[in-house]
């Protein structure tokens, strides 16, 4: 698991968030990235302390803590996971294990607007594949990916339980029912307008 923290995580996170800024400041790359990550680390720490202050440090608080961190940061930053492990007196591998087990948790930042396309049974038989295809074409990304400007992320979700209004697309708190490929552009347009 150490490999994850030192290596894979570094690659995954740094490439998405800070690389471009670093390259501008320091063309040699790596050193600048490290520095920025460290700086980012102190910000993470401050906000994290605030979150952790409302917990007692019991093991069963791990998932609620991760949920709150994810809500606050949009993903689970590496320094946060390490700190949570220390706070709960758990091995970092356990925290990482839980963080990767559940679909809700992300280890890399997501786009500002997360487009969730339901792929439940009712949506599937009522044409979810066509909806997903159209969203993919409009955004130019596949499920689990984000646009390079981090404006949009696309997720295919198991089921939202709005099956009677299938097919369904969910963006933020808005549920769009009875979708058609033709309505995808309109719905995505709404999102762009709200930001």
């Amino acid at each position: 698991m150490g490999g994850y923290f030192e290596d894979a995580y570094f690659k995954a996170v740094s490439r998405e968030t800070v690389n471009s800024e670093c390259e501008m400041a320091n063309p040699s790359g790596a050193q600048g990235t490290q520095a920025l990550l460290a700086e980012q680390g102190t910000i993470v720490e401050e906000r994290l302390n605030e979150i952790l202050s409302s917990y007692e440090g019991r093991e069963d608080e791990l998932i609620p803590i991760l949920q709150q961190v994810q809500q606050g940061f949009g993903y689970l930053p590496e320094p946060a996971l390490k700190k949570i492990a220390k706070f709960l007196k758990l091995p970092a591998s356990t925290v990482f294990g839980v963080g990767t087990f559940y679909a809700q948790f992300k280890l890399v930042p997501s786009g500002r607007n997360i487009i969730k396309v339901c792929r439940g049974t009712a949506c599937h038989v009522r044409g979810a594949t066509g909806i997903l295809g159209e969203v993919k074409r409009q955004l130019g990304i596949g499920p689990g990916e984000s646009t390079p400007d981090l404006e949009y992320s696309l997720e295919a979700i198991a089921c939202f339980g709005s099956c009677a209004l299938a097919p369904v697309v969910v963006i933020g708190h808005n549920v769009y029912g009875r979708m058609t490929p033709a309505r995808v552009k309109e719905v995505l347009g709404n999102v762009g307008g709200e930001k």
Binding site: E59, G97, F101, G161
Partner: protein, 643 residues
């Protein structure tokens, strides 16, 4: 305040709403309602009322189950029965307020039905509608009628009288009452609830837990969501009664994060219960104390399995463990634990309110009471329904659901989600209960019903479910982790035209290994959709494998799009809409699709004006068409055209 006083106050508030001088406007604002546009309707109601300076009580209610007609708006005008309007848009809101609220014309053209006593000319009683007529609404009786955030509404409708009764009974008596009702677990397995409680009650140990499983993960099922959104107090009352019977002081509700509205309603309900001292220490001044916590799931289907769910509450990865020991002996943190589904808990509340004998009047010998189902897929009227056990699938689909969408032919009905199966038309007249569904190769599951018509490919559906369970397998048991992957690979091959004759046998063999070698229900039932679709729809598999043909025209790799030279008018609409640039042609020239470039997105079929209908979708055959664009009217003269 005593419970009698609480009840008196609640009834006064409820009566004021129904019979008071102020009109009431009730909007179905469950997740379905919102998806259909209820929020815009609410905003418009607010605007209209302010603009016209009308005093009215505006209230959000849960889902009455007529999801096909969402958004639903009910209007209560003093001295008249409540009228329910369907498919309401902001424009219709303005009309209803002007015509009915101000002028008194009930607009029978927009109404679905009346609720309660009294008749309005030209509007039927809502419960006489075909969708509601054969339903028996016991668990759902409050959904869509009361404000789910208002505890007084629930109490006024009989709520918490079951708890009060239970407080006067010995725990063993409560268990006896539940046993006598014949209630079986509504989460899927159908284990007798009273017996389950008894095991846990008799387990040695001071500390015991009860859990409400609200991790409704089956794609295609939304009964629990609707119940939690529309009547959360009934679930909580059931849990209080169960805790009393079992001897638990702490309980958890494990609800999936995909249901934010249900979670919100539960949180509000808990706060109200605390305020009314119906939860906490010494409930209603008795010796009974109970505390309840809400746990939000984090997105894992396997957590619907009870041992995985408990691991998740403990803060671990949601991986099932072997049983025994059963949770009744060693569950959450090693203590005796009882888990029931949302609908089971709500049923407990109503059984205690109205008595076990009354409840046992409904249903069949082996399956007592009613069951909620979510009706979705290719059916005219989708929604949330509740019927007594013993009703046939034909009644559910044809009477309640209004038949297949757009007059198409029925092909299969899927019950039980990824653990269930696809049943053909032969099964339509079998009375539904736990045992009949199991013997047909499917399961009751939590109650999702997805109807499939002739345009649904059964091989594709099997592939769909396999891709779901393969993603959701926790990975603990190798037969599940790798077996489902291998099965998915074979199904991918078949749907992509690479199927081999041995594949069907191979799938069946793998399915058996996955069933035999998996620890939990997910793996043990994962092959069911594949096995039932092979059992009932083998011809479709063979068409895919032997003829490389998808009869339902679903599997992309096996279908092609062509343009009928006789019908094409050379309008260039499809040519412009094709994202792959695969269509050749010009003004007044018959268009031709380059099959090598075509990505089979279907755009051309969708945009071709219906009056032309020139785009053909086929599988396994190539129609006689020209290879290159030709002027309109000359299609018959080409070589290809004469073949």
């Amino acid at each position: 305040m005593s419970f009698a006083d609480i009840q008196k106050r609640a009834i006064a508030e409820w009566d004021a709403l129904r019979h008071g001088p102020t009109p009431g406007i009730l909007v179905g604002a469950g997740t379905c309602g919102r998806a259909a546009g209820a929020e815009a309707v609410l905003a418009e109601i607010d605007r209209e009322l302010t603009q016209r300076n009308i005093d009215a009580i505006v209230m959000q209610v849960g889902c009455v189950g007529l999801c096909y007609a969402e958004p639903l708006v009910d209007i209560i005008k003093p001295g008249r029965p409540r009228i329910c309007y369907g498919n309401v848009t902001p424009e219709i809101v303005a009309q209803l307020i002007e015509d009915y609220l101000v002028k008194g014309n009930p607009r029978s053209d927009l109404a679905l039905g009346t609720i309660g006593h009294g008749v309005v000319d030209g509007i039927p009683n809502l419960f006489e509608l075909p969708m509601l007529k054969s339903q028996v609404r016991i668990v759902l009786h409050n959904c869509g009628f009361i404000n789910p955030t208002n505890i007084n509404h629930y109490i006024a409708c009989g709520g918490y009288s079951g708890l009060v009764k239970a407080l006067d009974m010995k725990p063993e008596q409560i268990i006896e009452e539940i046993k006598r009702s014949g209630l079986r677990g509504r989460g899927g397995a159908g284990f007798p609830t009273g017996q389950k409680w008894e095991f846990c009650r008799k387990s040695p140990g001071k500390e015991k837990y009860i859990i409400c499983n609200a991790d409704e993960g089956d794609p295609g099922a939304f009964m629990n969501r609707s119940l939690l959104e529309g009547d959360p107090y009934s679930v909580l009352e059931g849990m209080l009664i169960g805790a009393r019977a079992i001897g638990a002081k702490v309980g958890y509700i494990y609800c999936r994060a995909e249901y934010p509205l249900a979670l919100e309603r539960l949180r509000i309900a808990l706060e109200k219960l605390e305020e009314y001292r119906l939860i906490g220490d010494n409930i209603l001044d008795s010796d009974f104390s109970f505390h309840l916590k809400i746990k939000e799931g984090a997105g894992a289907f396997v957590c619907g399995e009870e041992t995985a769910l408990m691991a998740s509450i403990e803060g671990k990865r949601g991986m099932p463990r072997s049983r025994p020991p059963f949770p009744a002996v060693s569950g959450l943190w090693g203590k005796p634990t009882n888990i029931n589904n949302v609908e089971t808990w709500a049923s407990v509340a109503i059984i205690m309110q109205k008595g076990a004998d009354w409840y046992a009047n409904y249903g069949t010998e082996g399956s007592k009471g009613t069951k909620t189902f979510s009706l979705a897929g290719k059916v005219e009227r989708t929604g949330l329904i509740e019927v007594p056990f013993g009703m046939t699938m034909r009644q559910i689909i044809c009477e309640i659901g209004g038949g297949i969408l757009a007059g198409k032919r029925f092909k299969a009905v899927q019950t039980g989600g990824p653990s269930g199966g696809c049943l053909p038309s032969d099964f339509l007249d079998t009375p539904i209960d736990y045992d009949s569904l199991t013997s047909a190769g499917s399961i009751m599951g939590s109650g999702g019903i997805v109807v499939m018509d002739e345009d649904t490919c059964m091989v594709d559906v099997a592939r769909f479910f396999l891709s779901f369970v393969q993603l959701e397998s926790c990975g603990k048991c190798i037969p599940c982790r790798w077996g489902t992957k291998q099965m998915l690979d074979i199904l991918e091959d078949i749907t992509n035209g690479r199927g081999k004759p041995v594949d069907i046998e191979l799938l069946q063999e793998l399915a058996q290994s996955v069933k035999d070698g998996s620890l939990c229900g997910l793996g043990q039932t994962a092959p069911n959709p594949v096995l039932t679709s092979i059992r009932y729809f083998r011809d479709e598999y063979r068409a895919h494998i032997e003829e490389k043909r998808c009869p339902a025209l679903v599997c992309n790799a096996l279908i092609s799009y062509y343009i009928d030279p006789e019908k094409c008018q050379g309008c260039m609409i499809c040519l412009r809409a094709c994202p792959a640039g695969a269509i050749k042609g010009g003004k007044r020239v018959v268009h031709v699709i380059d099959q090598d470039k075509c990505t089979k997105c279907g755009n051309c079929l969708n945009v071709c004006p219906p009056r032309f209908g020139a785009v053909i979708k086929t599988s396994g055959e190539k129609p006689a068409i020209p290879e290159e664009p030709v002027p309109i009217g000359f299609a018959g003269n080409t070589d290809a055209g004469q073949q």
